[in-house]
Each structure stands twice: as structure tokens, then as C-alpha cells.
Symmetry: C2
Subunit: 342 residues, 2 copies
């Protein structure tokens, strides 16, 4: 009897977690239909109907306690927002639009109350903002909070922008300001006690906004010859694009859209280093053929777009500044298998 | 200089992991095209083209060290096989066929050598057997081995079999023998020293085979009114199907397809309890309207199919045996949030 009662209570605990997830994230019926979702959370799998003339774009993304966020420093709603936003950024990088997502969540029993509620509130906010409702998922218990997000998106047939299309002579562009998120992380790490998550300097790190409209526009207009998102830092990501395209790149230091907050000057922050090696910006890095360069606006939907260099045939990435000859750009961005990662 | 060299070596470590994954799992070009994959591993996201007249079926599944497998007891190739096989079982439960999968893998540096190679060999074997090539993924470092698999499948429009269609009077069927995987786990836990992973009694636990052909046939013939896979044990999964359908169920103990290995009799194993509460079988549980019961064969592609009970309108799950009145069936299968889980 005792045993059965214990089982019943415990089962309720799992059911409670699932109910909270469903209750918080469940979109309106209309939204489900609009997103192509035919069967949502609650069955063995989700059913999604692709639109005729479109291809399905799929990405999955880890977001792990200790590796990608700090449980005692990052607000739970920021964890919820960011796990979906950064996954959706991979779709922006393909020129695709998000349609729905699957949430895989593992967490300790101690986080199934207030923490989970706030996490889900942040996730719901991102889901609404990105027009990307939940379609399914998997939940289990683990001593750490582990998140994996699969985002399902669409782009018109043959319009996905790959990493592999850059040609020597193409101009290299980046959206936004680079290094902003890394600077926010530094502030977060150095702040003792109360953290003001509304601080504009923290915003880019806590609540990144994937450049979906820009990516979709570049894809639709066929202006980008290659594209990817900047998640691990320019010095690590640009060589990946170059490798995929079989080319090299030359970056002009003076052109980099570095951060310029008064605070950074006060604290003698190296803004160039942040722009080159800082991760988590989720800006777009893309290349444009010379004949199309004039079609790229200086701003798109409020976001700056900056020409930062040129694709070369030299199969290496170099940095040019006014002080001397071109130098090889060391890959000092985020690398999970690097020992002593900051 | 020293610093750069360290960075270079470390970057190579991540590149080596990615290269090994690509090299081991990369399907032939023909296979990619046949599976609808237009852009595979190596870009920001995968691109998949759904077949006209089909819907896309999507599922994701955790497979975590400590929670779902024991790093020191489970052979790495079994971990690789099982993580994909159990995720694909969710598609079998919808009557869908797998098309491709995404691999999210987090592991410590110490497991990036022999362990990773064997894991990938097992995963490749499952991928080939299930005709389900890799399309993308995400890799990072973590102190535990963490796996999340997203499987993308297809079924013809409107033919997905849901959990919610069972009606009072429908017969309840299960494929295979129930409790076999749990029994294998017990052997694995009690074995000291060398483990013979070829032992037939361990096979169901280590290398489960999702009932894809059976699920697809039931879906295509429209014979199953409701279906799900048995992953957490009959006593936990059946109430989920009943809840989704707004019905109850009566199970006949003497009909249960329990295991009958000589070893289980020797060791006084309770085969009925294993069949009711043992998890990880990945057999199919489905319901059939009375008029169609005669169309269900006793075996399908070598797998036994057994009628184990009937759907009722009573909104509870009861067990009938010869000894006395019907008893409520306690949910004693796998529940991640239950304390003191075996």
C-alpha cells in the first residue's frame, strides 16, 4: 500500500512537469495549424506538414548547465529565451524561417518548481517572438539542467544559403556589433550579488535575437554567396566558412563593428579582441559577389550591416591593420574541447 | 607562440571528433538523395525535402549516461545502436518510416578515442539497418556522455496512428515478448567482469529492434485505432494511451506474452511482473476495432502478435487473473522523476 502510494505521488510529479510544459507552451490551435503542425505534444511523435514548394530545414542545439550557462548566474527566463533563440539562429544562417521546435529537457527534481516556471516563461516569449510554437519533446530527470532544442524551419526550394558558395573577390559582411555578448558575459561573471537582467550591456548575452529577417531577405534576393551565424566568434567561425568554400579571407581591423559603450573605454576593454574572438553574438556573417555589394544596405530592420573584409584565394585568414603587414588570425573563439576554456 | 600552439592542438581535437563522426556515419551520396537529404552534416542546418503526399513525423529522445545507460557496463556499440533504435521506435508507433536523423552528442575528452569509435560503429549499424542516414547534429564537451537523437520520418498524409483513437470494445494487442529487455538489464547488472554482449538474453536490452514494418503496415491498412511503443513498461504506457483516448482497459494476465527462457524459471524470476512493469522493450501496443481483429496475424515478419485485453469505458486499467476479481493495475514502470528508481 505504502509502495503504491509512493509510486502514485511520484508519477504525479512527472505528470506535473509535463502539464506545466504543455500549459505554458501550448500555442493556440490556429497557430498550430498555421505552423504546419498536425499532431503536437502528447503523442509518440509530432506530425508536421511541409508547404508545397518549400524544403524543411532542421537543426539541433545543445544548451547545457556549466558548458553554456551558469545555473546560479543566468536568470531562468534568459536560459529559456536563449536556448530557442540560438537554435533558431542556425535557420537565419540558412535564410530559412522557423516553423516549430522540439524541446528536450532534463532537470533535477529541485528545479521542477519556480525555476522551471520561469524557464518556460522565457521560452514561451522566444517562441512567440520567433513565431515558432512547440511541436513535441522529451523530458527526463538529471542532476544537471540539460537542454537540447531541435528547430524545424522552411525555405523555398533551392534557396538555402550554404557555407560553401564564397568566391575570391566576394565582400565579407557582418551584422550588428561584434563582441557585445562576450562583453555581457564578462559583466555577468564579475557582478557579485544582484544581477540586473534588464541592463542593456547584458541584453545581447542574455536575450540574443537571431537575424531571421535579414537571413531570409538575403536568401530570397540571392544576394549572399555564403552565410553562417557567428556563435563561436569571428576568428573561429570565418575559417569554417572559408574551409567549406575552399577559399581564404582578409579582415580589416579598422572596419570591424566593435562595441563602443562608454563603459568599455573606462575599463580598458580590448574591443577589437572581443569582436574577433567573442562568442554568442548570433550575428550573421555572409559574403556577397562584387556586382551585388551596392545592394546591401547599411542597416536592415534596425541592425547595422558592415563590410569587414574580402574573400581571397589564399586559403588562410589574415587580419590587416594600419600598423603593419597582414597577420594570420589565430582561432581564439569558443571551442568546447579546448582545455582551460575561459 | 606557446599559446597559439596550444590553441591549434586543441582546435584539432574538436575537428578530429567531427571528422570521426563524419567519416564513420557519412552515407553514400545516393543514400542521401534517396532519403530526401539535400544538405547534410557540415552546414548550419540540414535541408530535407519531404515527398509529395507525405507528412513529416518528428521525435527527439534523450539517452543519458547514468539515467539510460551505464558507462562502465554498456558496450559503447550498444549505446550507439540503442540511442537511434529507441528514437526510431517512436516513429514505428506512429506508423511512420524513418528518413534521417540528427545526432546531438556531448562527451568528455577521455571518450573521444576508442569509446567514440565503437559508439559510432554501433550507431552506423543501426543507421544502415533502419535505412536512416545522419543529416546533421551538434557536438560539445561534457563530463558525462549525453546523447539526444532527433529522428525525421514520413507517413502518408493523414495516416499517422495516434494514441487517441481507441474505443471501448477495441481489442488490445502487443508485439513480441514483454519483459525481455528488463530481464536483460537484470542480467547485465548482476554480471561481474566480462560481459558477453552476444548473449541472446541480453540482446533485447542492448540491441532493440523497433517494429517499423509492423507499425507501417498497421498504419497503411488502417487497422490500428490507437498505437504507441512500450518504452516505460505496459503498466505505465497503457494508461497513457487510455488517457489520450478517454477510455480504460482490461488486461488478462494469462494472455500476456511473458518471457519463458529456462534461465528465468531457474532463478524464480516473476515473468508476469517483468511483462507488466519492465521498460525498454520497444514493442508496439495497439488497439483494433472488433470488426478488424481477425485481420491481425499471429506473427508479423517473425514477431509474435498477442491479444492481451480489451478497451473499456471505465477510465481505469485493471488486471484480470484466474485467481480472483479484477484488480487495479499499479503504474510501476519507468518514471524518471520517481525517487529510488531501480
Amino acid at each position: 500500500m505504502n509502495r503504491n502510494r509512493r509510486h502514485k505521488q511520484a508519477t504525479s510529479s512527472e505528470e506535473r512537469v509535463l502539464r506545466l510544459i504543455r500549459h505554458t507552451l501550448k500555442p493556440e490551435f490556429r497557430k498550430l495549424v498555421d505552423s504546419g503542425i498536425r499532431v503536437a505534444i502528447g503523442d509518440d511523435a509530432a506530425v508536421f506538414r511541409a508547404r508545397p514548394g518549400y524544403e524543411t530545414v532542421l537543426t539541433c542545439d545543445w544548451f547545457l548547465q556549466g558548458t553554456h550557462f551558469l545555473l546560479d548566474r543566468h536568470p531562468p527566463d534568459a536560459v529559456g529565451w536563449k536556448c530557442l533563440a540560438r537554435a533558431a539562429s542556425d535557420l537565419a544562417a540558412m535564410g530559412a524561417e522557423p516553423r516549430c521546435f522540439l524541446l528536450s529537457l532534463a532537470l533535477p527534481t529541485s528545479r521542477t518548481g519556480a525555476w522551471l516556471r520561469e524557464f518556460l516563461n522565457g521560452l514561451r516569449a522566444a517562441s512567440q517572438k520567433l513565431n515558432c510554437p512547440v511541436a513535441g519533446g522529451d523530458t527526463t530527470r538529471h542532476e544537471d539542467v540539460l537542454i537540447n532544442i531541435t528547430v524545424v524551419g522552411e525555405c523555398r526550394r533551392g534557396q538555402a544559403v550554404l557555407r560553401s558558395g564564397a568566391q575570391p573577390g566576394d565582400a565579407i559582411f557582418a551584422s550588428g556589433q561584434l563582441g557585445e555578448a562576450e562583453y555581457g558575459l564578462q559583466i555577468l561573471r564579475s557582478t557579485r550579488g544582484y544581477l540586473n537582467s534588464g541592463d542593456p550591456l547584458l541584453r545581447k548575452h542574455l536575450y540574443p535575437e537571431p537575424r531571421l529577417a535579414l537571413g531570409a531577405w538575403l536568401g530570397k534576393q540571392r544576394l549572399a554567396t555564403a552565410m553562417m551565424d557567428l556563435s563561436d566568434g569571428l576568428s573561429t567561425d570565418l575559417p569554417r566558412l572559408c574551409w567549406a568554400s575552399g577559399v581564404g579571407a582578409r579582415i580589416e581591423e579598422c572596419q570591424l563593428p566593435v562595441i563602443d559603450a562608454p563603459a568599455t573605454r573606462e575599463k580598458h576593454v580590448n574591443a577589437v579582441s572581443l569582436a574577433l574572438h567573442g562568442g554568442d553574438d548570433y550575428e550573421l556573417l555572409f559574403t556577397v559577389a562584387p556586382k551585388n555589394v551596392a545592394k546591401i544596405p547599411q542597416r536592415f530592420a534596425g541592425t547595422a550591416i558592415t563590410r569587414i573584409g574580402e574573400i581571397t584565394s589564399a586559403r588562410k585568414t589574415v587580419l590587416i591593420n594600419k600598423k603593419g603587414p597582414a597577420k594570420a588570425l589565430p582561432q581564439r573563439g569558443w571551442d568546447p574541447f579546448r582545455e582551460n576554456q575561459k
